[in-house]
Subunit: 365 residues, 2 copies
Amino acid sequence: MKLILDGLDLADAVATVSRATSARTINPILEGIKLTAKGGELTLSATDLEVYTKKTIRADIKQDGEVIVPGRLFADYVKKLEKSQITITSDGATVVINHGDNVCNFQCLMIEEYPDIVTLKAKPHFSIKSEALKDLIAKTTFSASADDARPVLKGVLCEIEGEKITAVALDGFRLSRVTKTIANHKEDLKVIIPARSLDEVRKLLADDNGEINIVIENKFFQINIGNTTFASRLIDGEYINYKQIIPASFMADVVTECAGFEEAVSRAGLLVRSDRINLVTLKVADKTILITSTNEIGKINERVPASLTGKDMTISFNAKYLFDVLRNTSTDFIKLSFSGELSPCVITSAKEGDFLFLVLPIRMN
Amino acid sequence: MKLILDGLDLADAVATVSRATSARTINPILEGIKLTAKGGELTLSATDLEVYTKKTIRADIKQDGEVIVPGRLFADYVKKLEKSQITITSDGATVVINHGDNVCNFQCLMIEEYPDIVTLKAKPHFSIKSEALKDLIAKTTFSASADDARPVLKGVLCEIEGEKITAVALDGFRLSRVTKTIANHKEDLKVIIPARSLDEVRKLLADDNGEINIVIENKFFQINIGNTTFASRLIDGEYINYKQIIPASFMADVVTECAGFEEAVSRAGLLVRSDRINLVTLKVADKTILITSTNEIGKINERVPASLTGKDMTISFNAKYLFDVLRNTSTDFIKLSFSGELSPCVITSAKEGDFLFLVLPIRMN
């Protein structure tokens, strides 16, 4: 293998794919980055066997070839070569990086041991605007579980029905549901995508609000953004019937300005942030929500203006769960709907909105 | 105590003084911040018994008073009140913070247990330009030792002689020496200032290059910057006679461009960063310095243009020690002076300069 390329192009590509390398693995080959030089292009790929990232850049290929370089060292080294023109040569056993009068040799990893990089060839299953996909991810992945004991809950359920996608995540204490419009829809489908994979997708999405094509095939999903291909395994299994968790009717609806409520919850949460249950209490009445936290050091009372329809209510929550929701609503006014002090609180936009959050209360003694 | 003040002023003052509170202490009172309301001003103070920080801000004082508030909670809470007008009241046992319709109560700490805040009343011992002081600190504190076994080496020796201050730090492997011009000098003096205190001073210095007055009295030093007073204990003891460590004559001088050399050392260091001795080897010849690092994964050869006077030389260093020096030289061209493969390397500006660094080589087997 021999090629000449621009340091900035290489540094950028390595930064993108190296996030898929696996640092803490029992299989050291997954720490590698695969370089494939062919037909005027260099392709860099990496995987941890859950996600697969691949990026292709222009290069002056003098001789085709394929090698596996040590990922972290290679990434850190080329990051420092942004200003250089770089020559990379390899006999398969070592890779040699030349820039100016400088030369760096790294031992390659065994190419025979490297897993195949998943690339789906199917036609896109649907497409979605970049901004909509970002918002869908931001509003759902934080509600997914981190618990290995229930693998399906580490994912986000995506239900494609007609020209809509509904994404749901829940961890037993809270739930997120978002619906977005899609285009070029092929057929209805339900898949569970790992929350971590979606968070990686979000980092790849540009700010241009372009149309993103989603390919789903053989228990994988894949997106292509420019010259980057990102694929992830889907999670196997039956998702929880989440619809029955969401209350259908409420005893009280209260509307408040989101930013002020978020700040008040964040201040009240300071006092209890080191407690296990992180408890704040909301006293909901017409004109005001009173947010209270208390411990042996002090007491915080925060008041935000609100407008109530229905019954007064006193109800306690984990401040972190409320805060996670509030910082992701991206709307001016929200509606909190209550069915009782022991029933979940549902948070939606005060106007029409495409999202719903649910937070379980904490039972007070 | 009762006062009304601006949230932004308070948040700013708390951020400054709270760095002097002690988070990991056997004495919980040192986690507190002292509020003193008197004569139209609120003074916030904090100490960990090594450094003492005090900041005075304008406030509408309705009733004088003094209390000790829990430092971290108070700081985190008022940080979130930048936009508010705040009322603080206290009976000594609890402090009450009102903003808008919100109210927060914190238990106060015992004012009887709080140490006196050191404030020196003497006339300044000398003054120094802010930029010069910043540079003096940047070039010395990284060479100070972190080892509690030799307390004097955790400090920076400051020798005031005539209209000059010479600052020296060393840890047994490297040494920094910087000389700066001072003004309004009272008398010659040697003091050892904790490196950590100087790093705190650096954070307080504004970008205006104003004249900074340094007060030294009773084994303390102090600076006043605007409405902030920062004092620190001096370190007691006899400093090492560092002058005998610096070689007087050299076998070889090599001049090179600092930025290119720094980048080359930083790249070569990547390969060995996880090794204990972090070894890079310099092969110094006319026209070139060849910087080499090697381990079982690979080998890096970096070349930088250089101009040699004297004998060729091959000498090895801890890459981190070289890198710490190079990123703090703030000069275009540096001179490396060698007296042999086992003798310290001296790094100075290629032109006239006010600094000298010394790095011990590593003996190669």
